[in-house]
Amino acid sequence: MMRDTAVGNAMVTKPKQSSELKRRLIKNRALYQMILPGFLFFVIFKYIPMGGLVIALQDYQPYLGILNSPWVGFEHFERLFTEPMFFTILRNTLLLFFMNLLFYFPIPIILALMLNEVRREAFKRIVQTIVYIPHFMSWVIIVSISFVMLSMDRGIINELLVLMGLEKVNFLMSNEWFRPMYVLQIIWREAGWGTIIYLAAMAAIDPGLYEAARIDGANRFRQIWHITLPSIRSVIMVLLILKIGDVLELGFEHIYLLLNSMNREVAEIFDTYVYTAGLRQGQFSYSTAVGFFKSVVGLILVMGANWLSKKAGEEGIY
């Protein structure tokens, strides 16, 4: 954005280029007309409310409003960075994010590739519809079903372990099992849903390419590697960049439901922490400050990822 504005400013000073710009603006006016309604949407419903972020620098009281609440500078940020749990939370958040990226992110791609190789349309459609169902079940339901299965008291999994002559495992209240449980639940809920974008991208591939490859004697794996994957590369890149921006957004409700006294050391993240430390006690300013910190981290990572992706010859997202 910076560069564009700079170029724009430079143009104003040079009459000849300025008229060139004007000509292009007029030529593309239909495109600007198309963008305008959406642009207004973002200004009205996203940028105007963003003014509310200033309460991070205030001691906001709902009854005083933003205009009359006292200013406290960076007090809330200082509180955040000096919280006794700050580094634990940061570590937990980053670890969960990397596990998510490493173990969840590739799954929808693989599943989409598998579905894409299915030739029987009916079979494909049925499987596709089934794997996307879990997306519609709320975390409350998913967590309660998995608690029932993993319980020490009469959970199916532990009963099975006992039948096999093994020790019961305390899945729900241990530091070791929290992260695998979290990632597995995400995979279970979202993998099928995540395939949809990739399948749409694969629908755009010219079948002629596969035919040609087969004539050249390429096996199925080579076809996937050389035709399918390159065709969806740009979608993968875009989703990857957006995912990285979500680094500190790990799903409050999900984690909050899994969190307990026994796994807090590994399960506490910024959102759950803010909920107990702030929101539940009406501390809007502190919550906003923590949110702002998360957003800044996300922004830096997105900008970095976007820059890298452009370096690698991709388009990036802006």
Binding site: A30, S144, F147, N260, S261, T276, A277, G282, Q283, F284
Partner: protein
Amino acid sequence: MAKKKASALLAVFTAFAVLTGCAGNSDGSNSPAAGPNNNTQTATETPAGKKEPVKISIMANLHTPEVPDDTIEKMLEEATNTDLKIQWVPDGSYDEKMNASFATGTLPQATYIKNQTSLAMLRDAIRNDQFWEIGPLLDQYPNLKKLQKEVLANTSVDGKVYALYAERPLSRQGFIYRKDWADKLGLSAPTTTEEFFTMVEKFTTDDPDGNGKDDTIGMTDRSDFVYGAFKTVASWFGTPNNWGMQEGKLMPEFMFPQYMETLQFFKRIHSAGYMNQDFPVTSKTDQQSLLLTGKAGVYVGSMGDVAGLDQKITEVNPDALLDVHHKVSGPNSEYGTWAIPGFGSVVLFPKSAVKSEEELKNVLSFYDQLMSAELMNLITWGIEGKHYTIEDGKVIPSTDTALTDRETKPYLSLQIGGISTIDGMLEAKHILPSKAKAEELIVDNNNYLIHDPAAALDSLTYNQDGARLQEIIKDASYKFMLGNIDEAGFQAAVDQWLKQGGQKIIDEYNASYAAVK
């Protein structure tokens, strides 16, 4: 050509947008313009000579799946000559909605506050003149003035009364157990904590269901430190209720030796396998399911739960028999039970919606009428003949729970006062003996109450950090009970609590206590 088509398309969708907007407002009577701000015009004479109904807007908590049918609302309006506008808000999102409405100045004239904790959050706003003080006015109203002074004091801020309250029994705590199991094993209702321990032990080891399998446990508990088993058992051991006096100073409950004794008691039960191993993550539903399916035999908590549990357990096992009990004494051979401050929800009157004292009086006058026996019976029990019948001067509610769920139960949220403040309020006749007994024991509990001395006190640090600090103690308590840390480990957590702000909370509460005294 194409361009025309496109703009036509755009126009169509703009029209859709407008249409949906209109559709939203189509039932004119509910248009937002008729909200709180239109209430300045109060009862005026109409040509017919009858006073025009007073408009009153209310925000209340919805505890049932669906918003109620408006039959009872109509009857209330008729009886009080009001035009009620009740905004129902789902229980799970009540605080969010209330906070958003508060911050945007759109609260209705009468705003229900969910509970004590939510009320404490508003203290600062109350101090800053956001709500009407009603204390001095209450004496003008024949019914409202019967509200108990002590309970009003518990809702007060800096000694001033701002809220009307819904009465709740002070202590419903006790336990529910499988009477048939106890009889089979020759156990009587435990009267001491050691006898209680014996009961959960025998229920686990002596095959109370007689199926020859080792598949039962004694107690079932859930992940709730307060309304689950822990706090009630702590009372048996003589632990104070949140705060207690130690050498003339207010100290938090967990710094008393009785708290540690309770922790050790739970650890004994848990490590021996006499209770559900996962209790720190067990939901209320799963906790009850262990009792209902005959896996567990003791349920510590609200004795009133016996009605629901009994109905369901007979569906699973017709031979099962539940009973309730309350008095269990600890090592000091005294029985005690922790008490709530006497109120459930409260109602506040925001100045942003109630513009003048005259308007406030209109709203209070509505509540005064609502607090009459006639109307309170209406919102509690519904319509005689339809939702209940009377036998021996007591109510027998309709067995059609779907009907009462839809038509009467939600209106309970509007309750003000209760059985001890309203003469002629009907009580339920409990057909189920265990439920009838539970109600008696709840009344008997009033003789053994342990009050929270800090209920009406204030601490700035507690308001800011209290919840987070409480987590430290909660975590350490669970870890101790599960055997992850020892007494020294628990003490370390208490020290951490003190260091991170707990000491300040102690000092502030004591200062606040001294000021009130």
